[in-house]
């Protein structure tokens, strides 16, 4: 019978806390960069300019149809060989996570925008609004509300995906758990604490997403 002992793990609680902090930093940073890039991609897709649309779509498919882990390994180990310079692991991690987020966010934004009835933009145009005014005043406020649940969902996934950057030795939460495991030889406790920490952070966020979603569905 296995005897659980969390005492050695708790002694390493500063490692877990630091790891959780790093995970949050990478999540927030990659969401922020991904948001801006995602918006640009989305507007490129909707621009009606052929080459711009194809370029943006190609980028999206590339990042949506390969595993994040493979992207991470390729950008960290392969890309520097191609370009002839070194890429620090933190930079490779941030770049990959951000590009990955951008590809998915762009699709969330695009879906939200095209779901708004064409009559809405026509009504805006009919009172003399420019395309930009129609987008800013009429389409985006409605689209943002509609895309919110999908956006939060994607961001929750993004938080979990940061665990993959441990394979290139970025000292986030999952990496710290394997350090603690190495020091204590207690994988059961180390990885249980790891799972509990992810859950404790994400559960409130998914609950919040549910509330947002039900409010969206009820029209407010």
């Amino acid at each position: 019978m296995y005897t659980w002992s969390f005492a050695p793990i708790l002694q390493a609680s500063d490692l877990f806390l630091w790891g959780a902090w790093i995970t949050i930093v990478y999540t927030v940073a990659s969401i922020a960069v991904g948001l801006v890039l995602g918006l640009l991609l989305c507007f490129a897709r909707l621009s009606g300019i052929g080459p711009l649309n194809w370029l943006a779509q190609g980028f999206q498919e590339l990042f949506r149809c390969t595993p994040l882990l493979v992207q991470l390994l390729w950008i960290y180990y392969a890309l520097p060989l191609l370009l002839g310079f070194d890429l620090a692991n933190w930079a490779a991690a941030l770049i990959t996570l951000s590009l990955y987020a951008a590809a998915f966010y762009a699709e969330v934004f695009r879906g939200g925008i095209v779901s708004i009835d064409k009559g809405q933009s026509e009504a805006g145009s009919a009172i003399g609004m420019s395309n930009w005014q129609v987008m800013r005043r009429i389409v985006l406020p409605q689209a943002i509300r509609r895309m919110m649940p999908a956006f939060i969902n994607q961001s929750v996934t993004q938080f979990k995906n940061t665990s993959l950057i441990s394979v290139i030795s970025v000292a986030e939460l999952t990496y710290m758990a394997s350090i603690v495991n190495g020091q204590t030889y207690r994988p059961l406790e180390s990885y249980t604490v790891l799972a509990v920490l992810y859950f404790a952070i994400l559960f409130p966020i998914t609950k919040f997403a549910d509330i947002v979603e039900s409010r969206t569905r009820n029209g407010h």
């Binding site: 026509e122 009504a123 009172i127 003399g128 005043r137």
Partner: protein, 259 residues
């Protein structure tokens, strides 16, 4: 603000010349001419698929014609939002020519007042106080003053359409385009909307209305235009068109209503 031209000066407000519109391989408008003088009410009737709605949407360039031109007060309307040289921009055309749609198209994220002040504030750059005064004037005119804070989803179809009319009027347009504005309404709600349109006609508002309400068209309009397969088949005074038609297709079309 907008100067109302004297009734005697019957100048042309909006004019369509040779409007052709194709959707893919299908030609839906085969060169339509129509001019609208100030204070005139023109009703466009015709069977479904005759191109009535496409044509009225060409008049404010929501549909861009494949050939022909629209001019507003003698100025040709260009293809771009901003005017250039002699060409009038789409933005300016639409500031002067309002439109009301079959499906209302109210902005669901704004209340009644916000829907109506949106144009004056965002497009005409009026100060908020002034925009609210103008908007409340028209909201009261369509009988919805007590609904100013209601959301569109709290209104009946007839109320929504009256707000949509107030939204178009708040731009103080020179002409209004009404595109089958009662077609999506329950029969018992049609009257309240037509009542508002009748009031506008009596006050001399220049209007083009596409409608299936034949007797209303006869009642309120100065001229009835009968469209058929993308062409104007017949036009004239309501009395002549509706009670003494020459055109066989028009006779067949009207028989359905008199039936």
């Amino acid at each position: 603000m907008t100067s109302v031209p004297p009734q005697s000066a019957r100048e042309t407000v909006l004019e369509a010349r040779g409007i052709v519109k194709r959707f893919g391989a299908m030609t839906v408008l085969h060169g339509i001419d129509l001019s609208l003088t100030s204070g005139e009410v023109v009703a466009i009737i015709g069977p479904s698929g005759s191109g009535k709605s496409t044509f009225i949407r060409c008049m404010n360039m929501l549909e861009v014609p494949d050939a022909g031109e629209i001019s507003f007060r003698g100025r040709r309307v260009g293809p771009k939002f901003r005017g250039a040289g002699d060409m009038l921009g789409l933005g300016e055309l639409r500031r002067h020519v309002g439109m009301v749609f079959q499906h209302f198209n109210l902005f669901p994220h704004m209340n009644v007042l916000e829907n109506v002040i949106e144009g004056p504030i965002t497009v005409q750059r009026k100060p908020r106080g002034e925009a609210v005064d103008i908007a409340m004037d028209y909201i009261a005119k369509v009988g919805l003053a007590e609904k100013r804070d209601a959301r569109p989803d709290q209104l009946s179809g007839g109320q929504k359409q009256r707000v949509a009319i107030a939204r178009a009027l708040a731009m103080q347009p020179d002409a209004l385009l009404l595109d089958e504005i009662t077609s999506a309404l329950d029969p018992e709600l049609v009257g309240e909307v037509l009542g508002v349109v009748r009031g506008l006609a009596e006050q001399g508002m220049t209007m083009v209305l596409v409608t299936h309400e034949i007797s209303f068209a006869a009642d309120v309009s100065d001229r009835v235009v009968f469209m058929e397969a993308g062409r104007i088949a017949e036009q004239g005074s309501p009395e002549r068109i509706l009670h003494n038609p020459d055109n066989d297709r028009l006779k067949t079309f009207l028989a359905r209503f008199h039936g």
